[in-house]
Amino acid sequence: MMVGAAHALRPQPARLVVENLRIVVAGTSTDVVDEVSFTVRAGEVLGLVGESGSGKTTVALALLGYHRRGLAVGGGRVMLDGSDLLAMSAEELQGVRGAMVSYVPQDPGSALNPALPVGLQLGEILGAHQDPGVSRDADRVTEVLAEAQLDATREFLRRYPHQLSGGQQQRVAIAMAFACRPRLIVLDEPTTGLDVTTQRHVLETIRSLCRSYGVAAVYVSHDLAVIGQLAQQVAVMYAGRVVELGPTETIFGAPAHPYTRALLRAVPSPERSEVLEGIEGQAPRPGRRPTGCFFAPRCPDVLPICRESPPPFVPLLAGAHLVRCVRAEEPVTRSVIARTVPASDPPTSLSSGTLEVRDLSARYGPAPVLYEIDLRVGPEQCVAIVGESGSGKTTLARCVVGLHDNWTGNVDFCGEPLACGARRRTKGSLQRIQYVFQNPYTSLNPRKTVGQIIDQPLEHFSHFSPIERERRVVAELEDVSLSSDFLGRYPDQLSGGERQRVALARALVVEPELLVCDEVTSALDVSVQAIIVELLRRLQRERNLAMLFITHNLALVRSIAQTVVVLSAGKVVEQGPVEEVLERPRETYTIRLLEDIPKLAETRTNGGRWR
């Protein structure tokens, strides 16, 4: 703590200076990333935020002297304590990596060798980058693990990576990254996939380690709320450029770039039920970027001059806040008051449930995953099932739709019991319950066109003529805000959000009564998530759908559901109307879950100009 306080008082020297970094597609002059400059001081964390395709990972890799195949460094410098990483030879870089620069990947599994016990791996790391000042024996391994809040018992050191939980693996990866006292650490979304509670602890660990050892850290994430909890500085990237850079409080409290404001508006809040605003469209790819401001095609504040030449990256008032937008200094004109969702009608009559689950217990092989679940989805009602990974929420959804058949109990749909597996269900009940998969990148057949994909269930369930089917497919596409141009496209020509809309259209085209959505936004960017959630909400209302919305994100629940069921370790912990559960949670589990969600409010300082 003492060390941390001292650091906070005295300005630290600049550790990492990135100047005009430019990465191009190898052999061309098409840039993927350009004009990226920022400075990170010792002990400070810089958050690098952006949607997928913004170039944030490309920048992060360049800080390690790496780039993806097919790309090349086109210019600029990455200075670490005065020496340029980009000018080093491969051997020099090898020496620098691990010792001076280290990396924590998104998937902790990929950082650990699955064939070696954890203790041995840590010992090797410490041995490989020998530092005369640091003793390298068992004590050191214990010390390193303790820093990452892991108890280095004999038994723990002997475990293999697969015997650890995701959170433990990530901590070991962090311990390894900090073990050799590097000067710079690059973290690539290391907490995605972790539960909110674990995430909070891991973030705390990272912050305190950076402080106490004067490490400069660059934290790459698409999640603004996480960045807000951790970083002192934020760089927002869009289409390969840093569009806004500044202290965290400024970026969150008084964002000046329309893109940053849009990103912030898309983050769901667990405190209020808001209309989420996504950002329509997608970032232009390298080589197809417009002449003027790259954000112009999607910008709500666009002016004709924006399209003429790229806006310069200029400091605002304070100097530490830089923005790439011609209108940055104008006061915010657009109505930015959050629109709260009108309180939805209370669920009509709970007795006549469309879907009634009673006493449902499910197993995977011999292992029980769900214990005596009771829940009810009324007509036209949206029930959210919230739980951490391993809570059994996906299994519950799969039991309802018939993908998982190893269960006992009763699942009644419109008064009729459903058979366990989909194969034993009637065609009618299969049609009336539709399921949307979590990952739109695997749920669409890559060899079929969008038209074929949406037409397929219609062909199976209906007796319409091909012409009528095509009419319906087009109408459905339009209903999910895609045009008929998409009919002939293949899934890999679509963005994640577009794919998920196609998946939705496929489910809705047969006019189901119950839609089961399994983490449908978790594979998408926040800005796209907002669009999909709004789309779902609109469709649910227009079509009088009953909906079962499975998610790990409590904040999202607020925006879409009327009733929430909190699931933990296969049991229902708490259920009730959304306002009640989220505002006055009774169970400690729910309370903790709510507390641990990273919230924008915690970083917001002056009134929330973007709201």
């Binding site: 790496y66 491969a90 998969f437 990952n439 057949n445 890559p446 890999d492 963005s495």
Partner: protein, 313 residues
């Protein structure tokens, strides 16, 4: 399945084209490798001889035109065979049937094997057990011995040879395709169709089979090589076309006693068979390499699989 909260980058559009007509692209890229060019040229050479040969043969393949085992002479550039027939004409006329039989056997073997492998993997349970145990039994016999066994029981009928050779391939093909199918049938897009209650047969044909084109292409190339060897080998042993007919396998057998007098009667058909199998083998190897490479490249652009990193320079 994706980790909650992980945004997944869409693959660059260049890959799209490649994945859709993957097998076509695999073939065309295979042809452009050195290995592929050499393999395909060797194959094309032998196929051209076999196809065009019968029309340009100077003599009738069954006519006695010279003395037995006479050496090369003006009218008979490769000399005479055991009965004094023109070796060149017999070589030119004696290839097409071997090729045709090998191709038919491959088609049958790959088809039957694929059907068995895909069904086993997709249907699981007793169907899987039944199919795969039968495969094990068939695999216990060396394929040549197995074909011989059938032919000697039923007699040397050409269709039977085709079926026997094809059948001997089926187990290997079934194994390979079973493992590919196991992976694909767990994908969400297959589950999505299952959830509609579509019949398994249709799911296999419409959802799974199109994704297996690449392994099928690779497997067909490999199986063709083996078919040629076995069909020619059976002819050599006398299980094929009956004697007066020209046939490369048969020729080697007929002419080997006169090897010292006129080696051409043995060397040329043997060389053609060798060149053909080397050609098909080399080409299918090129295809397999490209196909593997394609898989790897697809992974590289999927951040879920981790980044493939390259150091500068």
């Amino acid at each position: 399945m994706a980790v909650p909260g992980t945004p997944i980058d869409a693959p660059p559009p260049g890959i799209a084209r490649l994945r859709r007509h993957e097998w076509l692209s695999v073939l065309s890229r295979a042809v452009r490798t050195r290995r592929g060019t050499v393999g395909l040229s060797l194959m094309a050479l032998v196929v051209a001889i076999a196809v065009v040969g019968p029309f340009i043969a100077p003599n009738s393949p069954t006519e006695f035109v010279t003395a037995p085992f006479s050496g090369p002479a003006p009218g008979t550039p490769l000399g005479g065979d055991a009965l004094g027939r023109d070796v060149l004409s017999r070589v030119l006329a004696g290839g097409w049937l071997i090729l045709l039989m090998a191709a038919a056997a491959t088609l049958f073997g790959v088809g039957a094997g694929a059907a068995a492998g895909i069904s086993a993997a997709y249907l699981r349970g007793w169907a899987d057990a039944l199919i795969m145990r039968s495969v094990d039994v068939v695999l216990a016999f060396p394929s040549l011995v197995f074909a011989l066994l059938l032919v000697s029981i039923i007699g040397p009928k050409l269709w039977l040879i085709v079926l026997a050779v094809g059948f001997s391939h089926a187990p290997q093909v079934a194994r390979v395709l079973r493992s590919s199918t196991l992976d694909i049938s767990e994908r969400d897009f297959v589950k999505a169709v299952e959830l509609q209650g579509v019949k398994p047969r249709l799911i296999m044909a419409r959802e799974i089979l199109p994704s297996l084109i690449t392994p099928l292409t690779v497997e067909a190339g490999l199986r063709l090589t083996y078919s040629i060897i076995i069909v020619a080998g059976l002819s050599f042993l006398g299980f094929g076309q009956p004697p007066p007919a020209p046939n490369w396998g048969l020729m080697i057998n007929e002419n080997r006693i006169g090897l010292q007098l006129n080696p051409w009667g043995v060397v040329v058909p043997a060389a053609l068979i060798a060149v053909l199998t080397i050609g098909t083998n080399t080409f299918s190897d090129a295809v397999a390499r490209v196909a593997l490479g394609v898989g790897r490249q697809a992974e590289e652009i999927t951040p879920l699989e981790g980044h493939v990193l390259v150091a500068p320079r």
